[in-house]
């Protein structure tokens, strides 16, 4: 995706988010969008095909998403503007905007071994404290890290892994 498309996706996401008057409504709409994308996934090729007319595509969207009229209208608008391909990026941006409204930070934590539930809870708490928000954490296991944790959150990487320390030590010795 190029920069222009990114900016366009961001503008659509802001417009979609602006429909909500409260945080709860924003969360509902974000879930609606997520469910809509899921529901339309089998028809992805059909909706992207240039051989199918926009009217036919819109017809399919409105009939599939009859229970989500607002979201269906939004996707129909994207079809009209030939911006349907931006939908995954828009969803991502909408999620970020909703997280901001709800005071959530999303983090990814990598460790060499699976963390115990207590360790996971402690990590979540520490992240929440650092970023002054509620942390939604995804835990990954990467044995190459050897030990320690690597946290990626809000465009920041906190690396306290043994692998990183050894790399630094190697650099220091070779210098």
């Amino acid at each position: 995706m190029n920069t222009t498309q990114r900016i366009a996706a961001q503008r659509y996401a802001v417009a979609y988010d602006a429909l909500s008057t409260s945080s709860q409504e924003a969360l509902r709409r974000q879930k609606d969008l997520h469910n809509a994308i899921k529901a339309l996934a089998p028809a992805q090729n059909y909706l992207s095909s240039p051989r199918v007319s926009t009217a036919e595509k819109k017809g399919l969207v409105l009939s599939t998403l009859s229970s989500l009229p607002d979201t269906a209208a939004f996707i129909a608008l994207l079809l009209d503007a030939k911006r349907f391909a931006l939908l995954p990026a828009i969803e991502q941006q909408v999620q970020q905007l909703t997280d901001e409204r709800l005071g959530i930070v999303r983090a990814e934590v990598s460790s060499a071994q699976i963390l115990s539930p207590r360790q996971q809870e402690q990590t979540k708490e520490a992240i929440g404290q650092r970023y002054h928000a509620r942390a939604e954490v995804t835990f990954n296991v990467n044995p190459q890290l050897l030990g320690g944790l690597k946290i990626s959150c809000q465009g920041e990487e906190i690396d306290g892994t043994l692998q990183h320390q050894l790399e630094k030590l190697l650099k220091k010795i070779s210098n």
Partner: protein, 507 residues
């Protein structure tokens, strides 16, 4: 020197003991688009302009465009190692180069990595590539001559240490040859006054660079030369930083009080590389599709050439930028820019080159704005009116072509002009010592050649130099050391030249 294993073990143990394990926090971004040596990164909110960023896989980049929701970076390595979604880390450092006196005699790339397979270079200091040039207080006027060994230049377009003299001309007119000759000539200069030379190849063919390196090695000039090479096959980003890297290396020596001569070969290709990068970064194109700051690109580079004040060690950085013109058009964008930045230009013409005048310097259009005050007094005395005389000769020669009848004085001027033009011809890789130059030019300007047929002028010069070396080496050396042409010296010269008249044999 033998290295004992236990010593290495103890050093490693010591380093491990001193190692402070800390958690590293770095600001990251994500690659959203990559291609053509450019990457766009989302994130890196606090990144600074010209900051070095790490793309992983050993590829680094430089943040150049700080935009609303992304950062445009130029990659310093192959772009196929960078993928969409890759994590990019800030380094907090501006782009810099590790410099060292070990670089002398070596060929390095613009990042300071050796290219000649002669082993690693241990950096003594790290110098930022792009710094602000020394201010007025830090400088002193250009006052020492920089001998190129080329008669025409040393006599008529003298270059001073700390000057910026542009070499401009079409392709195949001998621009690089002049710069290489100036480097080779440093061998003729006592070590104390000799310049450390830096040859920066920007966008040249690898074969051309290899040829230059071979020539310099053959003449023993690599002993005091550093070659910074960014060839045509390197990414535009490396071509862009190459002159700055060369300049940073030069400044390292300059601040040690040494004299440095740097050749940028050539800045046309440098501007083209910058244009390529700017267009890919979607910066607005201006005249000839160059970005608006292309003047600043070269002015900030060439402003760094200077003669430092004695308090700062008195070192100097003399720049010889080269510009390639198209069809002798000096009014194109980049040539006019660089002409206005530099302290003079040596203008080479393909017509002169093809008519056998080598170096093909157009005397009328070439000028040195500050070098005159740096010229040795004896050279100024001998060649003072040479430039005007030659210009007048060229004007008169134009008239003579129409078959107009000329008075005696004009005929004399034409005859002298023809001989002086012949005398100023010089073969490549044969730089002369200043004493030899003065002797030869004295003979020309004082009428000793007037009786010699034009086609015998070069034979006269050759025989005169051989005669001086064989019979009057002491007088030649005396002139070489002298600054001023005293009456006593002049009398001796006249005497020897009279003596040579009887010895000279036409070839």
């Amino acid at each position: 020197m033998a290295i004992r294993p236990e010593e290495i073990t103890s050093i490693i143990k010591q380093k491990i003991a001193q190692f402070d394990a800390q958690v590293d926090i770095s600001e990251t971004g994500t690659v959203i688009q990559v291609g053509d040596g450019i990457a766009r990164v989302h994130g890196l909110k606090n990144v600074k302009s010209s900051e070095l960023v790490d793309f992983g896989n050993g590829v680094q980049g430089m943040a150049l465009n700080l935009e609303y929701d992304n950062v445009g970076c130029v990659l310093m390595g192959p772009d196929h190692l960078v993928h969409e979604g890759d994590i990019v880390k800030r380094t907090g450092k501006v782009i810099s180069i590790g410099v060292s006196s070990q670089m002398i005699g070596r060929v390095v790339n613009p990042l300071g990595k050796p290219l000649d397979g002669k082993g690693e270079i241990t950096a003594e200091k790290t110098m930022p590539l792009d710094i602000v040039a020394p201010g007025i207080i830090d400088r002193q006027p250009v006052k020492q001559p920089l001998q190129t060994g080329i008669k025409a230049i040393d006599a008529m377009i003298p270059i001073g240490k700390g000057q910026r003299e542009l070499i401009i001309g079409d392709r195949q007119t001998g621009k690089t040859a002049i710069a290489v000759d100036a480097i080779i000539n440093q061998k003729n200069i006592p070590e104390k006054e000799r310049c450390i030379c830096i040859y920066v190849a920007v966008g040249q063919k690898q074969s051309t660079v290899a040829q230059v390196i071979k020539t310099l090695s053959d003449f023993g000039a690599m002993d005091y030369t550093v070659v910074v090479s960014a060839t045509a096959s390197d990414p535009a980003s490396l071509l862009y930083i190459a002159p700055y890297a060369g300049c940073a290396i030069g400044e390292y020596f300059m601040w040690q009080g040494k004299d440095v001569l740097i050749v940028y070969d050539d800045l046309s290709k440098h501007a083209q590389a910058y244009r390529e990068m700017s267009l890919l970064l979607r910066r607005p194109p201006g005249r000839e599709a160059y970005p608006g700051d292309v003047f600043y690109l070269h002015s900030r580079l060439l402003e760094r050439a200077c003669k430092l004040s004695n308090e700062n060690g008195g070192g100097s950085l003399t720049a010889l930028p080269i510009i390639e013109t198209q069809a002798n058009d000096v009014s194109a964008y980049i040539p006019t820019n660089v002409i206005s930045i530099t302290d003079g230009q040596i203008y080479l013409e393909s017509n002169l080159f093809l008519s056998g005048i080598k170096p093909a310097i157009n005397v009328g259009l070439s000028v040195s704005r500050v070098g005159g005050s740096a010229q040795r007094k004896m050279m100024r005395k001998v060649a003072g009116t040479l430039r005007i005389d030659l210009s007048q000769y060229q004007e008169l020669a134009g008239f003579a072509q129409f078959g107009s009848e000329l008075d005696k004085e004009s005929q004399r001027q034409i005859a002298r002009g023809k001989r002086m033009t012949e005398l100023l011809k010089q073969h490549q890789y044969t730089p002369l010592k200043v004493g030899e130059e003065v002797w030869v030019l004295y003979a020309g300007t004082h009428g000793y050649l007037d009786t010699v047929p034009v086609e015998q002028v070069q034979a006269y010069e050759k025989q005169l130099l051989a005669f001086l070396h064989a019979q009057h080496a002491k007088a030649l050396e005396e002139l070489q050391q002298a600054n001023e042409l005293t009456e006593e010296l002049e009398q001796k010269m006249v005497q020897i030249l009279e003596e040579f008249k009887t010895v000279f044999k036409e070839a």
